[in-house]
Every structure is written in C-alpha cells, then in structure tokens.
Symmetry: C2
Subunit: 678 residues, 2 copies
C-alpha cells in the first residue's frame, strides 16, 4: 500500500538545485496568493462597496510587510543555516520557554496550513465544478488522507512532483494578470459575474471603520504564511547553501508580490464582489443553494471567459499548488516533532523513522488533527483563515526578536564567532561589524512590524475564532513542558546512584504451561537449555479435565521437569501464580524468578486480535512482582512468514530431526538445588 | 469511574425471585409495546385513513403469533434450561452452521435492540420535551454511553433498578387504557391532537393492498422482540427454576397482550394519525420543523390532557423501560460473545472478564456498534425498525425448528433421556410420550408460523433497509466460521507431533545496554544471577559521544561483564543487533540466546506513550530471530505505585544496602565458556 521498506542509506538524497528548491519551498507562500486577496477584499466589503477604495492601500501595507519579513529571513538564513528556523533561533537566544512558545505556534501553524490550503483547494475545485459542493468536507478530508498516504510512502518520491504545478501556477496567474491588464488598457476591462451585485453594508462608527481596515489588513497578511519555509530548508540546498537559499527567498518574495498585487488589482478592475455571507449580496437569489465562487475563479472567468480551457487551467493549477502547500506541512510537522522529541519535549516515538524512513507518527497525527478541524469547521475557508495567521505571526515575532538578541550578542562578544552553527555549512564567512549592525536593524524592524501585526491580528480576529488558537497554544506549551519535566524526572529516578545496590542471588525458572503443545515444549526446552539453578513447570488449573489430560501428556512425553499444579477456584490465571511466586520468594529470599511464556508471532495484524490476549494480561501482572523477569519464547506461526519473507528459516530443531522427542535435561534438575541464601 | 475491582467470588450472586425476574427479563418484550402499535398503524395509514379499519385484525394476528411463540418457548425452557437459548438449541439439533446463523442473527438482534430501544426512548422524551428535538442523535448516543458505563461497572448493581420502571410502565399504561376505555363508555372518548389531520393516501392495486397489510403485520411483529429473553435467563431463577421461568414467561406474555391490545384500541378510539412522513399529514403545517409526537405520547395527552403529571409519568415510564430494554442487550450480547469465544467462534478476548467481572470487550463493542448505527440512521425509529425484526425471526424460526428436531429425537430414542442437560437443574422430571408429542406439535406450529412471518418480513422489509441485515449476517457468519477455522488450524499447527524435536544446546546471554542507568544495572544483575554459560553486554552505538560516556561508566562501575559495541551507521538499533546474533549463531550452532531488556512499568496509561516505544520495536524484531528469547526485566517507575498500591514494595536490593555497588559475578564469565557444539 505505501511501498516497500527503504534501507536507511537512502536518507542521504540528492541536494536541490535552485530550480527545484524554488517550487518545493515556494508552494506554501505562493499558494497564499490564492486566498489572501479574496479575504482582504471580503472584509472590506463588510462596510459596503465604497470601502473597496481602501483596498490598494491595505494591499500595499501587506506588501511592505512582506518585503520586511523576506529581508528579515535573509538574515536568519545566514545566521542559522542548520534548518532549525524560528524554533531554534528563539530557543537559543530567548530561552527554553520562548522556544516552546514558537514550537506550539508552529505546530498549530502546520496543522492550519494543511487545513486552510486543503479547504481553499477544495473551494477552487468547487468553483470549477459546482456539482461537488455537497461533498466539500468529504473531498477535503479525502485529500488529507491522500497527502498522508503519499507522505507515508516517502519524501523523495513526492518532491519532484512539486516543480510542475508551482511553475504552472506562477505562469498561469501571471499570464492572467497580463491579459487582464492588457484588456483594461485596450478599453475592454474584464467584468466579473458578481460585478452587478450590491452588498448589504453594516453601518460603522469611526472606530468601527478603523477596526474594519485593520481586520482587512490582518486577513491580507495571510499572504505571508509560509515565507519561513525556506529558512527551515537550507540544508536541502546545493552549495553555496546560504547564498542559494537567500536568492531563492528573494525570488520567491518578488513573485509573491507580483501575483498578490496583480490579483488584487484585477479583482478590483473586474469588480469581484465576494461576501463573507453570500446572502448579503444584493441581487443574487441562489445564495443559499449555490456555492459562491472563489475570487481567483471569478477573475479567471472574467478574464478568459467561463468554462474555457484557460479557466480550468487556472483552477487546476490553483488547486494543485494549494495541495502542494499542504504537503509542505506534511514535511515540516513530522520534522519539527522529531526535533522536539530529540530535545525531550515530545514523546520519543515522534523521532522514530518508520519503515519508509518517514517520521510516520508525526504524519498520522497531523492528518488526524487536520481532518478533525476540517470536520468541525466544515472546511469553511473564511472561518479557518481566522485561526491561521496567529500562529504564523507568533513565530515570526519571536524568531525576529531572537535574531535581534543574536546580533546584539555578536556585537558584545566580538571574539566569539557570530554564527555558532556556521561550521555545519561551508560557505559562510564571518560578518563585519557593519554588516552585523545592518542585520540587527533589519531584524529589529522585522520584529517590531510583525509584533504590531500580531497585536492587530489578535485584536481583530480574537472574537472571530482566533481565541481557539489562544486556548490550544498554551495547552501544547504546557504539554511539551510536562513531557520535558516528566522525562527529566524519570532520568533522575533511574540515574545510577551509590545507595541503590544490586546483587540478586538464587535463580529459579518457572515455565508456564497451559496445554501440551509445541510452543510449550519450546519454552520448556529453552528453559532447560538456560540451566537455571532450579526449574519447574507450573500449570494453573482452570478446568479439571484439562489438568488431568496435561498430567497424562506430561508422563507420556517423559518430561523430567517437575509439574506443579496451582488451583484457581475463580478461573483466574495470574492471581494463583503471583501468590505462588511471592510465597516462594518469602521462603527462598531474594532470588530471581524467570517466568518462561510462549509468545505467538503472527503475520497479519488481525491475528493479534485472536492471540496473546491472556498471555499479555498475565505478563503485565507478573512484571509487577518483585524479583520476576519474564522470558518471552517466540513461537512463529506459519503466517509470520509474511514478515520479512522468512519462509526459509529452519523449524525449531529441524536440523536435529530423528533425535528423541523429549527434551533431555543435560544435568539433573532437582527442587533442592538452590544456592543457600546469603 | 467504573467502581473498584470486584473479587471473583461475587460472581455467584443471589438468585432471582419471580417478582424481580419478571421486570428484569420483561423490560425488553414489554417495551416493544411502546413502538409496535405505532408502527403497525403507521404503515396502514400509508393507504389512507380508511385502512385503519383493518387494524384490529392485524393486531389480532400479532397477538395470535405472540401466544404461539410464548407457548413454544415454554417448551424450550423445559428442554434447555441452561440458558443457552436459541443458539444452543440450533447448534445441538441442527448443527454448527445453523447455530452460527442463529448466533449472527442474535448478534445483530442485540445491537438493534439497543438501537431501537434507545431511539424509541429518545423519541418519547422528545415527545414530552420537544425542545430537545435538535439533539436527538446526541442524546441517543449519550444514553448508549451511559448504559455502557453502567454495564462496565457490573450487573448486580444495575439489576435491582429494573423492577421499579418496568412495574411503573405496566401500571401506568394499564391505568391509561382503563381510563381511556372508561371515558369512551361514558361517552367522552379521548381525542388525539392529530385526530383532525387527514393523510395523503397512496393509490394501491389489490396486490399493493395485500402487501400493505402484510407490511403492517410485519411491523406489528416488533411487539414480539425480546420474548426469548426469559429462555436465556433460566439459570438466574430461584428453584424450581423451570417452573418459575415458565410461569414468568406466561405472565409476561399476558401482560404484553393486554398492553398491546389496549394501546392499539385506544389509539384507534382517540384517532391518533401517525404518518411515516409527517409532511404527508394534511392540516399540519409545522411538519418540517416540529417533531411528530409518538403514538403513546399522543394517547397519553388525549387521555390525561397534555402536559399533565400523568402525561409526564407515562412518558418517563416509557422512556425508562425502553432504556432498560437496551440494558438487557448489554447483558445478553457480551454473554453470547463469551459463549461464542468459548466455542472458538469469536476472539478469546471476548471471554475475558474485566476487573469488574464483566466481559468488558463485549460491552464496548456493542456500544460502538449501536452508536455507529444511531449516527448513520440519525436515530430515526421508523427506519431502524425495518432492520430489527429480521434477526429476531431468524433466531425464532431456527430455534423452534431445532426444538422440533429435539422432540423427534426424543421420540425415536426413548431410552435416552429427553433432556440431555436436565441434570443441571433439579426439578425436571422425564416427560411422558404424550407430553413429548404435545410439545412437538406446539414447537412445530411455532416453527411454521415464525417461518411464514420471517418470509413475510423479508419480502415486505427487504427494500426498506432490511437488506443491510442480509449483508451483515453473512459477514458475521463467515467471520465466525473463519475465526473457528483459524483457531483450529493454529491448534493443529502447534500440536505436539513426533517429527518436531526440541533440544537446544548452548546458552548465551546478551544484555542490551543503552546508557548506564539503574534499569540497565538491574537487567545486568538478573542476567548474571541466571548464570548463563556466557554473558556479554551489547551496546548499539548511535552516537559516538554517548558510547564514549558508556565505556567510561562501565569502567567506573567496575562491571566484569564484557561490553561489546556494535556500530550502526544508519542510527538503527535492531538491525546491527540482529546481524550480530545471527552471525554468532552461525558460529556457535543452535544455542539459545537470551536477550535481556529493561521494561519500564508505569502507573498511568499515558506514560506508555512516552516509554518502551523503541524497546517494543526492537523486541518485536528480535523475536523473529531464530533461537532468541527475550527476557523482560521490569523496572517499576515510582508512578507504578498506583497499580495495586505497591507503595510498600522493597527497592531492588533494599535489604542489602551497604553491599558493594557493583554486581559481583559469582563465577568467572569468559567469552570462551561455551559448550562445544554437538
């Protein structure tokens, strides 16, 4: 289903040339263009059509912010080329707690990237094929499942697929902008299908107007999401890594600005009227039944004509680039999870690579979280956008603030190299004091601006759903702190100390016998081979008939190990056994009792539902008894051949066929052969 | 949450006197009265109000069938008083496959009992409190969860609660019928709120009329569901068991007939017009927004007046008795599951009693299945009824057919006792030939009638949703067959045979060492205490720094066991280990290699998410290697005190404090101490 297991050496894939690195890391930030202008204009329209005249200024503010953030991340890439991104910067410069705040923001951000990108992608698919509208949520969740499956297969196979749709998206949107503007200059501006609709305007106070402009700006800032992706991917670039990454970042920023500005202008020219609540559109009667088409679809339909090939190309490219953006999060989230696990803030299982060298648990968790959110919010893009950018700007702000701290330290300690991790890459020369100062100013401006935006976003979005993020982030924060403290406590608990001494004496083996079957004989054989000081077989009698049969078989098989029968009046297996072992230890002192239990190894997951259930329960209870160790003697059922194609393995004792059936104890085993207590 | 664990001896509870047995076993069959008349009349109304004149005859047919089934089960109780019910009868008399058909029918039946009873209960609650209508599904699933929780706590605590609501239901419906009829005789008949509504009638052909009458009869047959409950509960009766159970059965049948007939008559008198699609009612404008009230609610409102105390008493009693009926399935389903598991047709884990002596897995499975069905069908009673009675009549028919076979055998072999299991109860005398003949005739009539009804129900309900049951039952059937064949194959595979011999030679211990921590030292200590022929500590080096530190600690702790370092270029733990063990076995022959691994024992479930993950993966892979046995050395973390209050357990080596820190090998352990290969 998800491909054969890969050997670990494949981990070292080829490094990326710029022409592949751009589409791979740019699908996330560029895809934001598909929804940012729409959300920006939509919020303005709440105040009425007249408010659209503010749109160019709001868009300009977004572009200025985008330039600042790109400039800031250019510095960050240079200083931290290891791919740790904002988490590493905040952790190193602002301490553990700031790092964890960034981590929780990023975790939320990755989930929301998947959710928003998929929701927007589905929205654009439905804009092209309105018949799919009733299945919006189902399609969205299906895409999440497909993305998860692709990523469980492995990165390398999916990464090359990035290039085509991203370039297609850039090219087609660019062509659309050029065509639209040309038509406008030729006096035939495109006219959107919603151009004739009026809109029910809310009457606003002066404060309300300012708030609305800020809300519009905050929504437009969703264009910035994903800019940080390149800073997390520096190690994947070809040499010179830092320079290549920086150039790609700037190129990406330039393209994003062109597409964002072009789409906004074209939407204003063609008079796309996109409303938060479609039934607030005056003149549209099917608002309750028909889906409102996305801004990009309306612009494409106005520019190229509805249902033309060009229209479908635009919609397909948009949907694909959005799904690829979601895929970026499927790379980033498990990686961040593994970094957090390595640092002891997340369960260690997140840093375990699966059979396909993927951090599979992270992929599964992300898919589940994204599906749940899509289900709860019914894949409604406008609502989801509200939850999105908080996390982004928290990590922007703390990352940039960390950079400021980093440069200040570099200035204060000129002896120390400014780039603690620069050794890892080959092409970074130490910065001059002037360059450090320049970088400090850039990052300070970036930190200040993103902090202001964070406040704006928080104020304007809080009541529109962003409060959920402010509940989730602290939960994640405290969970990670808790996990860290837990691991630390356990570490301390199991630390070697001079007061705890070891020195078990005595050695007794108990072979747990149910019925006379091959797995039992194998366990018995192994126990005898291990030559314990004393050995006995123990059978807990749940059924008199079976016990009688076992006793008969015991004699028939001529087994020299003593068989002890424990009575269990209440048909419970573990209790009499534990009582017996405890009583024995009281008599014989602190001996080690090794309990041999057969364990079935099966080839299908479902076979586990049919086996080992009782044995597991007994094992769990036995492990609680002082001085007990449980030896699992595997019995490989035929179906286990499916695992790693073991068909050729020898049967137990196969090479010794013809020998006597019964295991022969190679030294006399007596009950009294225990060593005296110390 | 679900109460303290109970010792097993509590299993033998007190036996039930008749006054408790009646309400306990009768809540299921009597609660059917709450929906059977409604469904019967509702189907008739599809043909128009005129068809209601057929209602008394259809109801009479249902009553005749009920009498027949009660008479048939009187015989079954006598012949099979062990509580095995239809499954046992069919299995013993008609063979394995008939038994499994009954079993799959009963499994579906139990799930549908929960679903239908809860849906009807919620329907009656909403009839009293219409404001709850938007939360119909949520309330239904909540009730399922509550029932599951109660049943995970244990039967004995819930069973006494049965008596009050069942008697309250019987009494209040009886009073309502008497009051309603008295008012009618006094010339003031109750008039239902829907009496003035007309109904859009379908125009029917003659065949259509007959089909409609049969459909109405089939729906009315839902009154028979649960009659078999007493036959499954005979062992719970006081002595004389069979007589008491038979008397209770007859009493229950009588009450059911009175209530069913009374309610039907009263609904006809008060002209309750209950439509399958409420918007087919002519004159009711709120059909799309308001819930249609249940028949029993409309009758109660007409008889006592709406929103009176009596009305609420009726609704509360109805809802309670329906929830208790659902509870009956929560007793029956896990019990049937355990019987099937004992016979090898279901996973053995279904026959494991939980801490509270309950077959917990069965309870959980039932709750999940019922919740899923309620969710899919949105707790819509009318749709769910269609799925219900198929299973009931399959088990009726096969059970009665089995009884016919049983009596024929009894006649043919007069020497053999007619009741093979009669020994288990004390009060059954052998039957005379005449009595056997009489019983044979009764069961034959029962089998014939239920078979006819089964055909009628199948024909009339198949397209209305019953096909789902005909898909599910074969799936369950083949699953159970498959499980049985699987267990049989495995049994054969692990059977002791003369060609497979055992006789491992050599004995080597490998202690898996990660870092120098107490659990590692304990594992080392146990391995040394077990005095293997040879012993070594193995460390897989994932990180050079850590390996260096371990080597230093090894010297510092003065451990005499040789530490072997395995290199792992790809940061994989299990692969180098397995390679090493395989290479070793190739060199030393078929020796047993015991791998010692520390296993953390924790007190909270969530701690398992943070521990043992890597160890479990390594263990699973090691168990696939030929000749390996894995010894789990438990390390009880402080939190494990929570399990069984182990606070007082001694620390490892606590009683030997002051001894040397390092474990002292009690005999020289050398690499070359292996036994020569045979």
């Amino acid at each position: 289903m998800i491909g054969d297991p890969l050997p670990t050496e494949h981990l070292e894939g080829q490094l990326l040339p710029k022409r592949f690195a751009l589409p791979i890391f740019a699908s996330d930030p560029l895809s934001s263009v598909a929804y940012a202008p729409q959300e920006l204009l939509m919020i303005l329209m709440v105040g009425g059509l007249a408010f659209l005249s503010f749109a160019p200024w709001v868009a300009l503010a977004v572009i200025v912010l985008l330039v600042t953030v790109v400039a800031s991340y250019r510095q960050l890439i240079r200083a931290y080329p290891s791919g740790g991104g904002d988490y590493e910067v905040a952790h190193r410069n602002l301490g553990e707690k700031a790092g964890l705040v960034v981590a929780s923001a990023l975790l939320v951000d990755y989930v929301m990237t998947v959710v928003v990108s998929v929701a927007s992608g589905v929205d654009n698919i439905i804009s092209a094929i309105p018949e799919l509208n009733p299945f919006r949520v189902e399609i969205a969740i299906l895409f999440v499942i497909i993305l998860a499956a692709i990523n469980l297969r492995g990165v390398s196979e999916s990464s090359k697929a990035f290039a085509v749709p991203t370039y297609l998206f850039i090219a087609s949107v660019f062509v659309m902008v050029v065509v639209g503007l040309t038509r406008t200059f030729l006096g035939d501006p495109p006219v959107a299908e919603s151009a004739t609709f009026g809109v029910e305007a809310e009457s606003l106070t002066q404060a309300g107007i300012i708030l609305l402009l800020l809300r519009s700006f905050a929504s437009g800032c969703s264009a910035l999401t994903g800019v940080e992706a390149i800073s997390n991917g520096v190690p994947a670039f070809r040499l010179p890594k830092v320079r290549n990454a920086q150039m790609t970042l700037v190129l990406m920023g330039g393209i994003a600005i062109v597409l964002f500005a072009g789409l906004t202008v074209l939407a204003l020219i063609s008079q796309v009227h996109y409303a938060e609540n479609p039934c607030h559109l005056i003149g549209w009667t099917e608002c309750a039944t028909e889906p409102q088409r996305s801004l990009i679809a309306q612009v494409a339909a106005a520019t190229f004509g509805d249902a033309t090939v060009f229209f479908y190309v635009i919609q397909a490219a948009t949907a694909l680039v959005l799904l690829l953006a979601a895929n970026t999060a499927f790379n980033g989230f498990p990686l961040l999870g593994s970094v957090l696990a390595r640092d002891g803030y997340a369960p260690k299982s997140l840093s375990t690579r699966g059979d396909r060298l993927i951090y599979s648990n992270g992929v599964v968790i992300l898919a589940l979280a994204a599906s749940l959110i899509l289900l709860i919010f019914q894949a409604n893009l406008t609502v989801l956008i509200q939850l999105y950018i908080i996390g982004v700007f928290v990590s922007f702000t703390l990352g940039q603030t960390g950079m400021v701290r980093h440069w200040i330290r570099a200035l204060r300690a000129p002896g120390r190299p400014a780039q603690p991790r620069a050794k890892q890459v080959d092409d970074v020369k130490p910065l001059s004091r002037g360059a450090i100062w320049r970088a400090l100013v850039i990052n300070a401006i970036g930190a200040a601006m993103t902090a202001v935006v964070l406040i704006v976003v928080t104020i304007t979005k809080f009541t529109h759903g962003a409060w959920i993020v402010f509940v989730l982030m602290p939960i994640l924060f405290f969970l990670m702190m808790g996990v860290n403290r837990y691991y630390r406590d356990v570490e301390k608990e199991i630390e070697v100390d001079p007061t705890t001494t070891f020195g078990a004496t005595g050695d007794h083996a108990v072979v747990l016998v149910g019925r006379m079957q091959k797995p039992t004989l194998k366990a018995l054989d192994y126990a005898i081979a291990a030559r314990h000081d004393s050995i006995e077989a123990v059978h807990v009698s749940l059924d008199d008939e079976e016990t009688k049969r076992l006793k008969k078989d015991w004699v028939k098989q001529n087994i020299h190990v003593k068989l002890r029968i424990l009575n269990s009046p209440y048909r419970d297996l573990s209790h009499p056994l534990i009582q017996y072992i405890k009583a024995r230890r009281e008599e014989h002192g602190s001996e080690v009792v090794t309990v041999y239990m057969p364990q079935y190894i099966v080839g299908h997951w479902w076979e586990n539902l049919l086996h080992n259930h009782k044995a597991r329960r007994v094992r769990q209870k036995l492990l609680l008894v002082h001085g007990v160790t449980v030896a699992l003697v595997p019995w490989l059922l035929d179906s286990s051949d499916l695992l790693y194609g073991r068909r050729s393995r020898p049967l137990p004792g196969q090479d010794r066929r013809g020998e006597p059936v019964r295991p022969v104890p190679r030294r006399p085993i007596t009950e009294s052969a225990q060593k005296p207590k110390r």
